[in-house]
């Protein structure tokens, strides 16, 4: 009982320390014995009280000094090594898939950009577009969130637009969708975007 969460020291304890008297709030059973000495085990039908001064010490010893056989150790190490190998393999496969996806998306993006946009993208990983409806200028840089900047008449960034394709698509796909939306469906993008002014 001494180690269960249902058991706690009550304020009516007459003991000099909190560790010597406990009350079970479920049953109001009162435990006068020192809880770290008294070790109680309960099964479905019986309650066994071990009145020994070594219960806590035995418990700690059991946890700390439990011996692992050589075979069990080798087995455990083999399992850990295999799990690590599988995890590394899966990570590398995932990275390779993401890299191939990014390369495909990059190719489609560059094919779809104008000559000027493609040049800017290769140099700065960013390019400019003109809004189809408003005629405003926007700068799209590589990224997935908050990567569209609205420019004022002087060409200064005056607002940030946060709108993106679903997670899981490469950033280049996101940039391509943003470009197409701004150039040919600007009102819909503006309707969906969260706009933050500077």
């Amino acid at each position: 009982m001494a180690y269960t969460t249902e058991t706690y020291c009550t304020s009516n304890s007459t003991s000099s320390t909190a560790w010597t008297q406990w009350t079970d709030p479920g049953t109001s059973a009162y435990f006068g014995q020192e809880p770290w000495v008294q070790w109680t085990t309960t099964s479905a039908t019986t309650t066994t009280v071990t009145a020994t001064s070594s219960a806590y010490a035995s418990w700690v010893e059991h946890i700390t000094y439990r011996q692992e056989t050589r075979e069990a150790q080798q087995d455990r190490l083999a399992r850990e090594t295999e799990a690590q190998r599988v995890a590394t393999e899966q990570r590398l496969q995932r990275e390779a898939v993401e890299q191939r996806a990014a390369q495909r998306a990059e190719q489609l993006l560059v094919e779809t950009l104008t000559t000027e946009q493609a040049r800017a993208w290769q140099e700065n990983r960013a390019f400019f577009v003109t809004g189809h409806k408003t005629g405003k200028r926007y700068k799209i840089r590589e990224g997935s969130h908050g990567n569209i900047k609205e420019l004022d008449a002087q060409g200064k960034e005056c607002a940030s637009l946060c709108v993106n394709v679903p997670r899981g698509l490469p950033n280049q796909d996101n940039v391509l969708a943003q470009k197409l939306m701004l150039e040919w469906h600007e009102e819909e993008l503006l309707r969906r975007a969260n706009r933050h002014t500077f």
């Binding site: 390369q103 990059e106 094919e111 391509l176 819909e188 993008l189 969906r192």
Partner: protein, 80 residues
């Protein structure tokens, strides 16, 4: 006399970068397959863009155009 076959292309943005679907205007099965894919994606909320291969002209389309040089279908965007 050799026949010039113009291939038309639909690029669908997805986790692999994109999936391309190519059709020949003279091939009814290919056109039907492309149109079916287009309609399925539109039902899912995709936005379809008709673009030229130089990236300088484009428009949003609601109906499949078998003569389009290139289509790009992007999933619906959401505010972040």
């Amino acid at each position: 006399m050799p026949t010039t076959i113009t291939k038309h292309e639909m690029a669908i943005l997805d986790e692999t970068g994109d999936t391309k679907l190519v059709w020949d205007c003279d091939n009814e099965d290919e056109v039907a397959n492309a149109e079916r894919t287009f309609k399925d994606l539109k039902k899912k909320g995709y936005v379809a863009f008709k673009v030229d291969k130089k990236g300088e002209a484009g428009s949003v389309i609601e109906k499949f155009d078998p003569n389009a040089e290139k289509l790009i279908l992007a999933p619906q965007m959401a505010g972040g």
